[in-house]
Symmetry: C2
Subunit: 110 residues, 2 copies
DNA sequence: TCCATGTTTGGCTATTGTGCCAAATATGCC
DNA sequence: GGCATATTTGGCACAATAGCCAAACATGGA
């Protein structure tokens, strides 16, 4: 008899989709910038430092994942974070980074 | 004077690296399984349902990112989560999923 | 309507990630 | 040492992603 654990594969796919939408340095920059408040694509383009079309595509990905939403104001598309808890990701990621540094120190130091 | 925002590009790269290591359905399954306690590669292989070599590579990626650690016990490599807060990711991801469903309902229903 | 501005989309190339098989490595037992 | 078991690594085929440029689209103003 196989494992009783149900294979929520679809559920995991959807979750992975969301996490994937965050798994890029430029997109993290964008989230970070948006944590201060909503911004238009131009602002984000300056911050990220890539082509505007590239930034727009990043935003499309994040929007599809449900991480950001946009509204139109005149010519501009203004983006904002959709779910506040996204910011908690950073805290945990930092914790991992700190742990990594410690391990590295421990490994090289003693 | 340019924007005061420093370009912590390297920092973002490192963070993205960690998030990327989670951004895959099989790896999420693994994290989920490990949240119950440490497991060897065989167990995880059964749970994930891929080739053992594939699972091993996933584990290598997560280990390099600092998400899991392994210890050797006889022939087995036993993996466990390294930083507890990883599990909070799921809570937020679920929140995004719920918000997505609501939006979808709102968009189609009214 | 024509033009300027802001954003998105198309298309292409280069890079990276994934998954399987087969082979190599590591450990324990006889 | 030789064999069985558990895991990792190499290598290749395939898919997915990222980035740029150019072109299309949308909006507002003259």
């Amino acid at each position: 008899m196989p494992k009783a654990r149900p294979v929520h594969r679809e559920a995991y796919e959807r979750k992975a989709q969301i996490i994937k939408a965050l798994a890029h340095p430029s997109r993290l920059m964008i989230v970070d910038a948006l944590s201060e408040g909503e911004k238009c694509v131009q602002d984000l383009t300056e911050i990220v430092g890539s082509d505007m079309s590239t930034v727009s595509k990043h935003l499309t990905v994040m929007k599809a994942a449900g991480i950001v939403v946009d509204r139109k104001q005149g010519l501009q598309a203004i983006y904002r974070l959709r779910v506040p808890c996204i910011l908690k990701f950073f805290g945990c990621v930092d914790a991992v980074l700190r742990a990594n540094e410690e391990s590295w120190r421990a490994a090289s130091g003693g």
